[in-house]
């Protein structure tokens, strides 16, 4: 099954010490240490960024587009994720940040938060249909969608089949620029300013049968200092009348924002990929049938905790809440209701099950392999120490059966073997016998 995999999450080998931190925390057991360096198994990686956060040597990184990619386009559009507004601190308001983007060189700014409101409206429509499978699981977090494809195929039908705010923002802004200013569509470069590695992957290697509306993804880390320097030089905001999104869209950056916006029904918001795993396990068992909507985010504190952010997520939350309070006070300008045709926002096709956990296509062989894995696992000490480079003894047994590792990768097994060889050598030496049966 030839499949092209692009992953934003990558390893800087020069910094990797071959320790056990990332292999132990990866939610899909996608990492192994081989020859002293971490290796990511492409089929299993969901770009959740847990390994980026956990690596003590900063050897794991997210690949994003370099800032100068914007120069490939005559007309540049910025799509700031609402997370950006929480990065700078009091005194650096949303208006100043959006202005700074223009001063940086973007011709047009379309807030992803505005698109989030459109997605919220579409979600409410979708949820009012009696025939949908509940609980509905949000598709805003690409890492969670990938996770479901691999681990929870029975929940694929529960995924909210509406385009993410990033894609909606990209489509709308391109259309607006083309209609208002007559710029040809292919000369418009649309760039998402992202806290998230998984978003990069969803642009460069979209879900089945799709093409992204976004041209490039810039990381918040890269653009932070240039924007800060620009803002420091800003005078008072010349009141440029640009309509900004309302509080609802901005709060999508925090856990709970999306589900709060939906307003009706029993909604839960879960963050952290391991918590998402637990909740999805409950969903699969049928224990969540009374829940209408699940907002599931791979990062702690939601997008504010993404691997590409600058500010501590708890502090960013306070910054963002400040902005939200200001918006609510000035609610005089409310966002005009866009009468968008909801059908345009729906996914044209679904995502597919990725059975990468399968041992073999032939059931007979799969059963045999499973028994082999059981036997090999039993022969291991069961410490899950990680010294072999696999996250657990059972994972190493599986790797061995799949042909990717050998028993003596386990240092305990190796020690046993060395001891046995040493004993035999000792026997030869002391008795002069070449017999193996001296045990």
């Amino acid at each position: 099954m030839e499949q092209y995999y692009f992953h934003s999450v990558t390893l800087d080998k020069s910094k990797c010490k071959g320790c056990t931190n990332c292999i132990k925390h990866c939610p899909t057991e996608a990492i192994r240490v081989r020859n002293g360096k971490a290796v990511i198994i492409k089929e299993r990686c969901i770009d959740c960024g847990v390994c980026i956060r956990i690596c003590p040597y900063h050897a794991k990184k997210a690949v994003t587009d370099p800032l100068d990619t914007v120069n490939n386009y005559r007309y540049k559009v910025a799509l700031p994720a609402p997370t950006l507004y929480g990065q700078f601190g009091p005194g650096f308001s949303r208006e100043r940040i959006v202005l700074a983007l223009k001063q940086y060189g973007f011709d047009y700014v379309f807030e992803v938060a505005r698109a989030a409101e459109i997605v919220t409206n579409a979600t409410k429509c979708y949820m009012s249909d009696k025939n949908i499978k509940k609980p509905v699981i949000s598709s805003a977090c690409p890492a969670v969608v990938r996770f479901i494809q691999i681990r929870f195929p029975n929940l694929i039908d529960n995924i909210l089949r509406i385009e993410s705010p990033m894609e909606v923002a990209a489509a709308l802004s391109r259309q607006e620029v083309n209609e208002k200013y007559g710029i040809p569509l292919n000369e418009i470069g649309v760039f998402f300013i992202s806290p998230c590695a998984a978003k990069v992957t969803s642009v460069k290697a979209p879900y089945e049968n799709r093409k992204s509306n976004v041209d490039g993804v810039l990381s918040i880390k890269d653009i932070f200092i240039p924007l800060l320097n620009i803002m420091k030089k800003q005078d008072k905001i010349t009141s440029e009348p640009f309509s900004l999104s309302s509080a609802i869209g901005v709060s999508w950056a925090m856990t709970g924002g999306e589900s709060l916006a939906v307003k009706e029904g029993r909604r839960i918001a879960v963050h952290g990929i391991h918590n998402v795993n637990d909740i999805l396990e409950e969903a699969v068992k049928g224990n969540l049938d009374s829940i209408d909507f699940i907002e599931a985010l791979a990062c702690p504190e939601g997008c504010l905790g993404g691997p590409l952010v600058v500010e501590n997520p708890f502090i960013a939350k306070v910054n963002l809440n400040n902005e939200i309070e200001k918006i609510k006070m000035n609610q005089a300008h409310s966002v005009p209701q866009r009468h968008k045709d909801m059908k345009e926002l729906e996914w044209k096709s679904t995502v597919e099950y990725r059975p990468i956990m399968k041992l073999d296509d032939d059931m007979m062989k799969a059963l045999e392999k499973m028994n082999m894995i059981d036997n090999i696992t039993e022969s291991f000490p069961g410490l899950d120490c990680g010294a072999c480079g696999a996250p657990s003894c059972r994972a190493l047994a599986e790797d061995i059966v799949r042909g990717n590792a050998k028993e003596t990768d386990c240092i305990f097994k190796l020690r046993e073997k060395v001891n046995s060889i040493a004993y035999q050598l000792h026997q030869i030496d002391s008795t002069g016998s070449m017999d193996d049966d001296d045990q």
Partner: protein, 141 residues
């Protein structure tokens, strides 16, 4: 003679937080064996219902699972009070669960009928004060 994968689990009495671990485990095994997702789902629902019954009503029990290339056979048994009226128990909505259980969201009375809906063969042996054994068979094709 093909290979058979065998698993045995202990179902703890009254501990809801870990109830369902056995069926979760079986779900993972079936996925690794390449069983189709909809069959995995049916199996795990049927097994989960039996597991929960053993916890709520049976005071804990044992699960024995055998998987071959055609089917999975799950045997869940307990040494609890047994089912007095099996026909009544199979009715949707009928439950003998105490109030404390219902407050936690269990005891809706759908367990046995869910089990029947999701298994290909369901065999229940029970007698008052002698415990209950549930045999669930699901075919892979």
């Amino acid at each position: 003679m093909g290979s058979v994968v065998v698993r045995d689990y202990i179902i703890p009495a009254n501990d809801f937080t870990i109830a369902g671990e056995a069926s979760s485990n079986v779900r993972k095994i079936l996925s690794q064996l390449g069983v189709a997702p909809d069959i995995v789902k049916r199996t795990s629902i049927a097994m989960y219902e039996a597991e929960i019954n053993a916890v709520i009503h049976g005071n804990g029990g044992q699960a024995h699972v055998e998987i071959d290339e055609n089917k999975i056979v799950i045997t869940i048994s307990d040494q609890g009070p047994g089912i007095e009226d099996l026909e009544l128990a199979m009715q949707e909505g009928y439950s003998t669960a105490p109030d404390s259980i219902r407050e936690m969201g269990f005891g809706a009375g759908m367990g046995l009928s869910n089990m029947k809906k999701n298994s290909d063969i369901l065999d229940i042996k029970t007698a008052v004060n002698e415990g209950t054994t549930v045999l669930i068979t699901v075919f892979f094709k």
